[in-house]
């Protein structure tokens, strides 16, 4: 896969103080997973270089704008093991830098001139913001249930994955309703699995990325695995969970055996989602052109990668 230059200094005015160094920090450390997803789609759909760059930039700009805003909302001190932008620069610059990225997205897309793509992107940004808003209202809600969190993640996380799957087809002016419906549903599942896999990292499960643990819990947010683990907790156990500061505290509260059993149950539940995802991916066979069908195989490999964090 060729390297795409997502952040190009020439795309942003040089006279704005700190903007370039802020963006350089932001874009240098991410995995760029969503851009890679676009490239994977592009390979099978024969997107032009221009289309591929536009789509990859769009999704990464939106994702990074949401991170800039998210860190400030959550008062997170670190982003990708570095000082978060709002702390390193200022909250005002972090907000403006996020807004600027979103504005840039609209400039780039309107220059390209595909109206359905502009409309869909705007809808995706709305979903993302709705998800952020609702998620913020769930902080310190220690009785929140998994299905409620799924609804938030559908807006906040899955909307980006749906976009990655659907936007390349929209860019090619392919509006096949069943194709978009199926891709949208698959995107929902990818987002859900990605989020659940990410939430497991917070409990140090398959945490090969060495992400900081219990960040969600300490900031008052019960994530999807936390909600699953505590689904049968008494009020007293819930208040003990709230007070946990380390993984040892968690294991002491639930017992290591019960903890591991909960992970297995959680995995099993998500394997069912993966089965359903595969069923949907295979149904694309009849919709995609013969030259595009190689995509199905690649799509089928994605959920395990996202949930179990397995390298391809």
């Amino acid at each position: 896969m060729k390297d795409l230059k997502i952040f190009n200094q020439d795309d942003f005015p040089r006279y704005l103080p700190k903007l370039h160094s802020l963006y350089a920090d932001l874009f240098s450390s991410g995995k760029g997973f969503r851009a890679k997803l676009i490239q994977m789609m592009g390979k099978h759909l024969a997107l032009t270089d221009r289309q591929e760059l536009l789509l990859a930039q769009t999704i990464e700009f939106i994702h990074n704008a949401s991170l800039l805003h998210d860190d400030l909302i959550d008062r997170s001190a670190l982003r990708r093991s570095k000082t978060a932008a709002w702390l390193k620069y200022s909250p005002e610059y972090a907000v403006l830098a996020g807004d600027y990225l979103l504005a840039r997205v609209m400039v780039n897309l309107s220059r390209y001139g595909n109206l359905p793509l502009i409309q869909y992107t705007a809808e995706m940004i709305s979903d993302l913001l709705e998800g952020e808003w609702i998620q913020d209202s769930l902080v310190r809600d220690w009785n929140v249930q998994l299905n409620q969190l799924d609804q938030v993640h559908d807006l906040k996380t899955a909307s980006l994955f749906k976009w990655c799957l659907r936007a390349p087809f929209i860019a090619q002016e392919n509006a096949h309703p069943q194709l978009h419906q199926t891709l949208g549903e698959m995107g929902t599942m990818l987002g859900l699995l990605f989020q659940r896999g990410d939430d497991l990292l917070d409990f140090d499960v398959r945490n090969d990325e060495d992400k900081a643990v219990l960040g969600d819990l300490k900031s008052g947010y019960l994530n999807s695995f936390g909600a699953f683990l505590s689904r049968r907790f008494s009020a007293q156990q819930k208040s003990q969970l709230r007070a946990c500061q380390t993984l040892q505290d968690i294991h002491a509260l639930v017992g290591s055996e019960n903890f591991n059993h909960a992970v297995l149950e959680f995995d099993e539940m998500n394997r069912q989602v993966i089965d359903l995802y595969e069923h949907k991916a295979r149904s694309l066979e009849s919709i995609l052109l013969p030259a595009q069908r190689g995509l199905i195989h690649e799509l089928i490999g994605l959920p395990s990668q996202l949930y179990f964090r397995r390298a391809r």
Binding site: I134, S137, L138, W142, N143, V144, Q148, E185, H279, K280
Partner: protein, 351 residues
């Protein structure tokens, strides 16, 4: 694992939803998109019936008849009967007992039909806490449940006949108004103005108490109406509180509810305001109906679940807040507590 995804345009769509596609397999709906639209799309997991852990038929029937909601129908009926101590001489014993039995079958029939309708419409497929969920678990097919519903409704009609023969005219009028209310609820057309909720209040309130008074004593008066208004308002509020949990999904899926037309904070304040109004209404009704002072003094205690429900609504920070699930549970408890209190208080007046 075998999955099948069908859209509304597929000829088998309805067969899978009704469960009539096979005698050996059940299709469990595991995912629904765009319900109540031409784009509706459902994915089913198809399982052999033998693989389902189905309880005995009477257990399925018990859960399907919504025992937790029986207080909403049988409670006001019993209170209406106890409200007529001075007319005991005119009590028509058998029509009265049969009417009560008929009411049980009507309750069951209506909730079974409602489960079938919500399954076909998609609302019970989207929210796994709605309805009895016996269809979604594959314990019974929607088609079979619909048959059960009609059998229950037929039994309700049979048991209502003695009362009808006794008081044909007024009871026909009550049934006609009830049919109008049911029509308004099913049509769901004037939801924005709260007409569906008002129809629900009439159905579970004045029409129920007046109907039982007519079936039992061949007459009705203002006391029945006053009692019914209190119960009707209470039931409508309980159902509104239950709507809160679906507010987020209802808006996203285009399902219309009265609360869905309001912004979240206003809807919440309205729910709280209605709860406060309910406490005052029941107090005033109790004074009007001559409930003894000792029972009146107990009312604040009886209203504790209702007040807790209002507290839960007050602290709900979003339509996905877990306190809305608590408020839903406690709203039903409020109804049970108030209904039990009315039955005890009216029963006490007989001593």
């Amino acid at each position: 694992m075998e999955f099948i995804t069908l859209t509304k345009a597929d000829p088998d769509f309805e067969n899978y939803l009704r469960g009539t596609f096979s005698h050996t397999h059940r299709a469990l709906p595991i995912e629904t998109y765009h319900p109540q639209t031409a784009r509706e799309r459902v994915t089913f997991r198809v399982l052999p019936i033998a693989q389902l852990d189905t309880p005995a038929w009477w257990q399925v029937y018990f859960w399907a008849c919504r025992p937790e909601l029986l207080g909403l129908t049988l409670g006001p009926a019993m209170a209406a009967w106890l409200n007529r101590r001075e007319w005991l001489g005119q009590w028509t014993r058998w029509p009265s007992w049969f009417a009560l039995l008929g009411l049980f079958f009507l309750h069951t029939g209506v909730f079974l039909l409602n489960d079938v309708q919500d399954h076909m419409r998609g609302s019970d497929r989207l929210n796994r806490r709605r309805g009895s969920q016996v269809i979604q678990r594959g314990w019974v097919t929607a088609g079979a449940m619909q048959k059960w519903a009609w059998v229950n409704i037929a039994l309700a009609i049979v048991f209502a006949l003695p009362a009808f023969f006794h008081t044909p005219g007024p009871l026909t009028a009550v049934c006609a108004v009830a049919a109008l209310c049911i029509g308004l609820i099913i049509q769901n057309k004037f939801t924005r103005f709260g007409i569906s909720d008002l129809a629900l209040a009439c159905l579970f309130g004045p029409l129920l108490t007046v109907g039982i008074a007519l079936a039992s004593f061949a007459a009705w008066n203002v006391r029945d109406l006053v009692l019914g208004i209190g119960f009707g308002a209470l039931t409508a509020w309980v159902f509104q509180v239950r709507q809160f949990e679906n507010l987020f999904r209802s808006k996203a899926e285009g399902i219309r509810t009265f609360l869905g037309f309001w912004d979240f904070d206003r809807a919440r304040m309205m729910g709280i305001g209605e709860g406060v109004f309910l406490v005052m209404l029941h107090f005033l009704n109790a004074v009007y109906l001559g409930i003894p002072l000792g029972f009146l003094l107990l009312l604040p205690l009886v209203c504790a679940p209702l007040i807790y429900t209002l507290w839960c609504l007050g602290r709900a920070s979003s339509p996905l807040s877990s306190s809305l699930i608590h408020s839903q549970r406690h709203a039903l408890m409020s109804d049970l507590a108030l209904t039990s209190w009315w039955i005890a208080a009216l029963g006490f007046t007989w001593l």
